[in-house]
Structure formats: C-alpha cells, structure tokens
Symmetry: C2
Subunit: 204 residues, 2 copies
C-alpha cells in the first residue's frame, strides 16, 4: 500500500503541489484513512509530501534550489558509497551491476521509460549497497525518491537515454579496474548531466 502510494507520487501520477484528499485517496487505495495517514507520515519523513496541521498533506514540490541541494548532497554521499563499495567489490557484485546495465540498455533501446528508470535505479543502488553502509544507502535512496517524479521526464528524451547508457559503461569500466577515483568522476558527470537536463523541467 505504502509502495503503491510512493509509486503514485514518484511516477508523477499525483502531481507535485496537488493537495491530498485523504478520503478519496483511501477509497482509491482500498484502505481506510488510518493506515493511509501512517503511510503519509513516512512519506513526509522522506520528503515526498509536505504537511500542515489541520490543512493536510500535499505532494512536495521541488524548487530549483531544492534540486541543486539534493544533487549536491547526493554527490557527497554517493562518493563515499562508491569508494567504500569499490574497496570491497567482488566479481559477483560486479556481475549483478552488469546485469542491471544489461536491463538499462535493453530498456533504452526499446524506449521504455518506466523500465529505464527502474533498471537505472537498480544499477546504482546495487553498487551503493556494496558499500555495506546501510544507513548511507538508505539516505541516498530517499534522496533519489525526492526527484523521481521528474526522472521519468528525463528519460523521455532518446538522447538522454543514449547518454545514460554511455555513462554507465564508463562507470562499469572503472569499476572493473577497481579505479575508485575514476568511478567517482564518471558518476559526477552522470549526475551533472541529469541536473542540467532536469532544471528546465522544474519551472513548469
């Protein structure tokens, strides 16, 4: 249920800024308002919705400043995660990341935006999870969630999909050689491209 609600927000079905009518949403999700309110509280903690006492919840809107701040924090945390991950990366780990990349390329070729978003996420999170720093991974995940509503727009453009594929290949190459600095650098440009593409989309 929580997952379903989170997806409704991160896929953009519930538009940023839209007020959340508990009664209607509860009926739509086939639950009562109590569990819905609990779910909204966790989403509030993740920054996906905002809350005002006696006024209710709204789908969070991301300002340009928010976007830049989120990506800056991601840069800091992901660098740490990548370095820790590279230090303990096994061949089996690498194989799982490569499998995710396979899915990314498949989705990119097919132009499947949704599959692209999930495969991309798997690619990165699989790497981050190798750091064996669960709290760090969790923080990164919630930061990703806050921009997920806009990510699908990003993959709408075929050019972006192609570039993502290329950038992942560069990261994978660095990972295979256990070149931490280079992996960090490739991910930095990867992220930088995303933020520059996302910025214009945020004004609307």
């Amino acid at each position: 249920m929580l997952g379903e609600l989170r997806r409704a927000i991160t896929t953009g079905r519930l538009r940023p800024g839209a007020p959340i009518r508990q009664d209607a949403l509860a009926e739509e999700l086939q639950v009562s308002r109590v569990p819905l309110r609990e779910a909204l509280k966790t989403l509030e903690g993740e920054g996906l919705v905002t809350y005002q006492a006696h006024k209710g919840y709204c789908v969070a809107v991301l300002s340009l400043d928010d976007l830049r701040e989120v990506y800056r924090i991601r840069q800091l945390l992901e660098e740490e995660a990548v370095r820790a991950a590279v230090a303990r990366l096994t061949d089996a780990d690498l194989a799982r990341i490569e499998a995710a990349q396979h899915d990314v390329e498949h989705a990119a070729a097919a132009g499947d935006v949704l599959a692209m978003a999930t495969a991309n996420r798997t690619f990165h999170m699989t790497l981050f999870d190798c750091a064996a720093m669960p709290r760090l991974a969790r923080l990164i995940r919630t930061l990703w969630d806050t921009t997920d509503a806009y990510r699908s727009m990003y993959y709408g453009a075929a050019g972006n999909r192609e570039r993502v594929v290329e950038e992942h290949r560069a990261t994978l190459d660095a990972l295979r050689r256990r070149a931490a600095d280079e992996a960090v650098r490739t991910l930095d440009v990867h992220r930088e491209h995303a933020v520059t593409e996302l910025e214009p989309l945020l004004d609307a």
Copy 2:
C-alpha cells in the same frame, strides 16, 4: 506529543532495545493509539525506532558499526554545511553562535548534563543553519538524534565537558576569522573525540 516521545527516546528514558507497548505508552502520553502510531512512523523514518509488521516498534539500538557509520556520514555532511555556512556567515550569526557557546560553558561549569546537551546542540545547529541548505541541516539533525540517547552519558564525565568547551572555542576562533578549513578540522577532532568516548558506552 511527538516531541515528548522523541525526548523520551533521545534522553534514554525509553531504553534502546525496549519494545514499545502502544497501549501503555498512549495512556502515558494521554492520547489514543492512532496519533501515537503516526508519531512512531515519523520516528521510524528518523531511525529512532525500528518496526516489524505485526510485532510492533522497538527503541532502536545502535551497534558499533552503526555509530561509526553515523559519525562518518555526519563528517561528510557537516563539512559541507560548515563550508557553506562560513561563506555566508554574518556577524549576527556569529553572535548567536557565541551566545550558544556561553550557555555551553555555563552548563559545563554547573555540571548540568541536560542543559549541556541542548546548548551544545544549539551551538552546532545554529552554525549549520547558516549554510542555507535546509535539507542538509535536516539530515544532520536526524543523524544527531540517533545518537542522542547516548550523548547524555558522554556529558556525564566532567573531563568531557571541559574538552567540549575547549574544542568549541577553537571552532569559534576559526569562525571569527572565516577560516573554513580550520573550522572543519576542529569539528573533525571534536567529533572524533566524541566517537571514541561513546564507543565503550555502546557495548552495554
């Protein structure tokens, strides 16, 4: 109500690892279980309590690995916050930080552990808030919360209180000269001392 519950955990009145009986706690807090459950959901998001479906909530316990991970992440995020804060630090900001330090010294001399903890927190958070990165400040705050249950033990020792005062003075000196690198360094040692003192306390 949420704040009251959070304090009960961060001050250690609800011991780490203890299961949370909703009925009893609701009565103690003079509310019904519904708002309590919402509060627990937000605390779960902050990492103060853990949750298992159909088994309920427990006050989170911090392993040694958790402690080190939290402090490592804090180091990363706080460095960013300090650098951003120093870049835009006004004299009025500095005065507010100095006022907090005054409270810290007063509490340290009086041996008031609780006042020490809150004044110390104000000292640091006032600085971090100057970074004008609200999400970053919020993340740092929740990281602090996860170790607050143990912080009061830390201030129990007079030696630790004295050292904290000295370390804050070093930081303040760096801030007055807008010396970002030095401020970061002094806070790093400050944090490192805390973690080495905290580690032994965690085994119990």
